[in-house]
Point group: C2
Chain length 221, copies 2
């Protein structure tokens, strides 16, 4: 495949995390008393729970089988994005894969490398799967971005009948991530990269961190 | 455009609602005491709030400028999906547009008509825009479906290294809706229909109501 101007290259978080050495052997983790207690209440491995706590700023909800936290990047979701599937569990015993340390920086580096190799002006999105409180089934979420317009702000414009639009902020980055996730599959397809072509090129360059809703707007703490 | 087997036709909720006569003149609405009080606390029109309450089973959160409810269809979101933009405000004064009464039934009817006209086996998705508690920017949500696999259930399978997958339920319908919403725009583009082509045909036919997370799993009431 030849990359062209305006193409958006979507890369699964797992391959970025692996490339950045974010794989942790659970045998090396010593759970705190807090992690042991939370693991008991959530039916989870205390060492995994310790990693989740280390990656998070707040436990949002917990119950047996469920541990929803606010990741230090601001992402609210299950287990701080830590994953144990599609990870080789070799002689070293069980392992867990953390999110990239700074996914926006990872996206910028990846973009520079891909642009240098292709000569094209590209966008890059690092994708993860995302769950929602009231809807079943995962969709994609953009956790790192470079070279794309992340939020399309149409507030203050007018609709087609001249009425002022009060709130229309379109999340383009999550839409790209969701499209890519559909092609990648999220399990055994082994397709960690998808390219979206045919988009209108856009000179805006925003990070995925723009997507995080400010804490003071959170009605569901 | 010629429709072919496996194509998924996505239609914006607004045009379906208009076609089904779901436009209500606010002048005809008499707000109850409850609606007047809730309107005061949310800085909204009491007549609009009355319509929201009529369409809902529960107020989930409210504050000035924000009214999040559970629609009787199970959808949790702002203002029960009632919209005042892109609606003609003619001599009859202000109007509001409700969601279709039964969007899955609307999708089934639309599918039958489109299949009869084209001879192709189609999927149909009625799309709405959706907001999330911790992420800025709207994405698409499938509120009515026919002829597609809505949730791709891979729980209980195995990952590429043989580890049992515990939870992987992919929301294909919302992914289609999100892709379509990106093409349609959500404001002044006047593109109420988008067709997704190139998908692998699938004999499954599920309604969008499958997406609603059961009340007993709701951690954010």
């Amino acid at each position: 495949m030849r990359l062209g101007d305006g193409d958006v290259v979507c890369v699964a978080q797992k391959v970025v995390s692996k490339a950045e050495g974010r794989l942790i052997a659970l045998a090396e983790v010593t759970p705190s008393a807090e992690a042991v207690e939370l693991a008991r209440r959530t039916d989870k491995d205390p060492r995994l729970v310790q990693l989740v706590l280390d990656e998070s700023t707040e436990v949002v909800r917990s119950k047996p089988g469920v541990l929803i936290v606010r990741h230090r990047l601001g992402l609210v979701g299950a287990n701080a994005g830590i994953d144990q599937s599609n990870i080789e569990h070799g002689d070293g015993g069980e392992q867990a894969l953390l999110l990239p340390r700074d996914p926006d920086a990872s996206a910028r580096r990846l973009r520079e490398a891909l642009q240098a190799g292709s000569g094209a002006r590209l966008g890059v999105v690092i994708t993860d799967s995302s769950n929602r409180p009231w809807r079943l089934g995962t969709i994609g979420a953009a956790i790192g971005c470079a070279g794309i317009r992340v939020l399309d702000d149409r507030r203050g414009g007018h609709d087609i009948y001249g009425r002022e639009l009060q709130v229309t902020l379109i999340n383009r980055a999550d839409a790209y991530a969701t499209m890519a996730t559909l092609v990648m599959g999220e399990t055994t397809e082994r397709i960690p990269v998808a390219v979206i072509q045919g988009l209108a090129p856009d000179a805006v360059d925003e990070p995925a961190s723009r997507i995080i809703r400010p804490l003071e707007e959170d009605l569901f703490k």
